[in-house]
C-alpha cells in the first residue's frame, strides 16, 4: 500500500477532523498521520472524486446481490406449502433459480429470512393496495374503522396460501435472533396502515395508535389460524369488535376530567362501600 493510499483511507475514516499538526493515532492499528498543507489539498481533491465512484459501484453491488437473493426467496416461497419455512425450501428455491442447492447459505437465518422476506413482500403489496382504496370516509373526524378493518383483513388473507405452515412461521419469528426483524416488519405494517388511514398525529397518540393496532393485528392473526368459517366471517367479526374496543378505550382516555368527575366519584364511592362490606350487609 502506498503512502498516498494509506493517507486516503485514514482521511475517509474520518481523520480529516483531526488537525494535521496535532494528529494522533486514534487506535493503535492506525498509523500516525502527518499531513502538511500541500499533500493535504491533494488528497482532499482526490477524495472528492473517488468516494462518489465507490459509493455508486457499492450501491450497484448491493442491488445485484439483493436481486439474486430476492429471486431465490421468491422461488423458495413456492416450496413452502410442502417443506415449510425451512432450509430445504430455500435450497429448492435456489435450484429452481438456477443455482446449486448449497446457495441457501446466502440466508444464514434459514427459515427466519424466508419469513421476513414474505412479511416484507406482503406489507409492500398491502401499501400498493391501500393507495387505491377510496379515501371518502377518512375525511370526517371519526375513527376510520372500516378502512382499518379492511386493511387488517387484506393482510391476513395474504397468509392464506401458507395457512397450514403459518403457526411454524410464527414460532420462527419468536426465536430471539428473528425478533428484531419481526418487530420491524410489524411496526412498518401498522405504521403504513395508520398513515394511509389518515393518521397525521405528532403527539403521544402516535404511539398509542400503533401499539394498539399491532396488538389488534397479532390477536387477529392468532384467531385467524383456527378460523374455519366460510369467507372468514368470524375473523372479520373478531377484528371489528377489537377495533370497537380500542375506540372505547380511546374515548375513555379522551374524556374531559371535569365532565367525568361525578362518574369517577360514584365509582370510587361504590368501590369503597364494597371494600367495607356495606353492600353485602343487607
Amino acid at each position: 500500500m502506498t503512502l498516498l493510499q494509506r493517507v486516503f483511507r485514514s482521511v475517509r475514516n474520518g481523520h480529516r477532523y483531526i488537525l494535521p499538526l496535532a494528529s494522533v493515532p486514534v487506535n493503535k492499528n492506525q498509523r500516525v498521520l502527518r499531513n502538511y498543507s500541500q499533500s493535504k489539498q491533494d488528497t482532499e481533491a482526490k477524495e472528492l472524486k473517488s468516494p462518489a465512484i465507490s459509493v455508486s459501484t457499492e450501491h450497484e453491488e448491493h442491488q445485484y446481490e439483493e436481486s439474486i437473493k430476492n429471486r431465490i426467496l421468491l422461488r423458495a416461497l413456492e416450496y413452502v406449502p410442502k417443506t415449510g419455512w425451512s432450509v430445504e425450501s430455500l435450497s429448492a428455491g435456489a435450484e429452481s433459480a438456477g443455482y446449486p442447492g448449497i446457495t441457501h447459505g446466502l440466508f444464514p437465518n434459514g427459515g427466519g429470512d424466508l419469513v421476513h422476506y414474505f412479511n416484507v413482500k406482503c406489507n409492500e403489496n398491502l401499501v400498493e393496495q391501500m393507495k387505491s382504496w377510496p379515501k371518502d370516509d377518512l375525511k370526517d373526524n371519526k375513527v376510520p374503522s372500516k378502512f382499518i378493518e379492511n386493511a387488517i383483513m387484506t393482510r391476513l388473507l395474504m397468509i392464506e396460501p401458507y395457512k397450514s405452515t403459518w403457526p411454524k412461521a410464527m414460532a420462527i419469528q419468536a426465536l430471539p435472533n428473528n425478533v428484531p426483524n419481526c418487530l420491524a416488519t410489524l411496526l412498518s405494517l401498522v405504521d403504513d396502515i395508520c398513515y394511509h388511514s389518515g393518521d397525521r398525529s405528532v403527539d403521544f397518540n402516535w404511539y398509542i395508535r400503533r401499539v394498539g393496532l399491532a396488538g389488534i393485528y397479532k390477536a387477529s392473526e392468532l384467531f385467524y389460524l383456527t378460523d374455519n368459517s366460510t369467507d372468514f366471517s368470524k375473523t372479520r367479526n373478531f377484528v371489528s369488535s377489537r377495533i370497537r374496543d380500542a375506540q372505547l378505550i380511546q374515548t375513555a382516555l379522551n374524556l374531559n376530567p371535569v365532565a367525568a368527575a361525578p362518574q369517577t366519584l360514584t365509582a370510587a364511592f361504590v368501590t369503597a362501600k364494597n371494600m367495607l362490606g356495606i353492600n353485602t350487609l343487607k
Partner: protein, 297 residues
C-alpha cells in the same frame, strides 16, 4: 536417555522461545523491506525465506507430522478442533447434489463430516448424487486419510457419496472451471505461499452460486486473551510437539504462521478481491479461529 535428550532440548530452546517473544516487531520490519526489494521472498513462520523454499519447508513439515497429525490436533486444542470443524460443516449445511472440493483436506476430517451431514438428511432423490474431491498437496497426508476412510467406511458403496483423492496444489489446480458447488479449506490456506492465487483458483473452479468456506486460525481482538493465547502457543505447543510427535520445529512453525496470517477483516477483503460476494466471517472461541464464507454469484 530419551528423557534426558528432551530435557536438554527444552533447556536449549528456552532461549529461543524468549527470543521469539521479542522477534515479531523486528521481522515485520524486515518483511516490509524485503517486499520492497524483491517480491520473491515470503515468510515461513517468523523467518523470511525464498518462495521456493517455503513450499519445500511446508511440505517437509507435513511429511514429518502426517502420522501424528490428528493426535496432535487433539492434544493442542483439547479436542476443540473437532467442535470447530463440526460448526464449520453446520454452517456449510450441504444438500444432496453438492459437489465439494475439500482442499487441504488430507486426513479427511472435513470430508467425513460432510458425508455424515448428508447421511443425516432425508434420503437423497435418485437424480441427485453428491460427491467430494479431497485435494491435498501432500501425498503422505492423503494416504493417512485414505486409510481412515477405508477403516471407517466412508467409501462409495457404503455411504453413497463418491469420494475422490487427488494430490494437487491449491495455487494451480488441475481441475476444470465451474465444476464444484462448494469449496472448503480448513487450516490449510495459511500454509500456502500465495493466498491470493489460492482464492482466485477457488473462484475459478466454483460454479456460479458456489460457496467458498475457509476455517482458519485468526486473531483475538482482546489483548488480555491474546496474551494468554500467546503464552500457550509459544510456551506449551512446541513442547507438546516434542513430547508427542517428537518434532519441535513444525509446531514452532505452526504458531508462528498463525501470527503471520492476516486478521479477520484483512482476510475478508482479500476474499472480496478475488471476486467473491456476500463475504462474512464468524469468530470461534474468541477469535482463535474464524470461519470465512463467500459466494460466487
Amino acid at each position: 536417555m530419551p528423557l534426558r535428550r528432551i530435557t536438554a532440548k527444552l533447556l536449549k530452546t528456552r532461549a529461543s522461545v524468549s527470543f521469539f517473544r521479542t522477534r515479531p516487531l523486528v521481522t515485520q520490519v524486515s518483511d516490509k523491506e524485503s517486499e520492497r526489494h524483491s517480491t520473491k521472498q515470503t515468510h515461513f513462520g517468523y523467518q523470511t525465506v525464498d518462495e521456493e523454499e517455503k513450499w519445500k519447508k511446508v511440505h517437509e513439515v507435513f511429511e514429518t507430522v502426517a502420522e501424528k497429525y490428528d493426535l496432535m490436533n487433539d492434544a493442542m486444542s483439547f479436542g476443540i478442533h473437532r467442535l470447530w470443524k463440526d460448526i464449520f460443516m453446520a454452517r456449510l449445511a450441504p444438500t444432496h447434489g453438492t459437489k465439494l472440493l475439500d482442499m487441504a483436506g488430507g486426513t479427511g476430517d472435513i470430508t467425513f463430516r460432510y458425508i455424515n451431514y448428508l447421511k443425516n438428511l432425508n434420503p437423497p432423490p435418485e437424480d441427485k448424487k453428491s460427491s467430494v474431491t479431497v485435494c491435498d498437496i501432500n501425498q503422505a497426508m492423503l494416504d493417512v486419510g485414505k486409510v481412515r476412510a477405508e477403516k471407517q467406511g466412508y467409501t462409495w458403496d457404503r455411504c453413497g457419496v463418491s469420494v475422490e483423492w487427488v494430490c494437487g496444489d491449491a495455487e494451480q489446480l488441475q481441475l476444470p472451471d465451474d465444476t464444484f458447488t462448494a469449496y472448503t479449506i480448513a487450516f490449510g490456506i495459511r500454509n500456502c505461499t500465495h493466498v491470493d492465487r489460492v482464492l482466485e483458483e477457488a473462484y475459478r473452479v466454483l460454479a456460479p452460486g458456489g460457496r467458498f468456506m475457509c476455517l482458519e486460525f485468526s486473531h483475538i481482538p482482546n489483548d488480555a486473551l491474546q496474551w494468554v493465547y500467546d503464552q500457550y502457543s509459544f510456551q506449551v505447543i512446541p513442547v507438546l510437539g516434542q513430547l508427542i510427535a517428537g518434532q519441535w520445529r513444525p509446531y514452532q512453525y505452526l504458531v508462528e504462521s498463525i501470527r503471520q496470517f492476516p486478521n479477520q477483516e484483512k482476510f475478508k477483503s482479500m476474499i472480496e478481491d478475488a471476486g467473491f460476494r456476500q463475504v462474512t466471517y464468524e469468530n470461534l472461541t474468541f477469535g482463535t479461529c474464524a470461519i470465512h464464507s463467500g459466494f460466487k454469484i
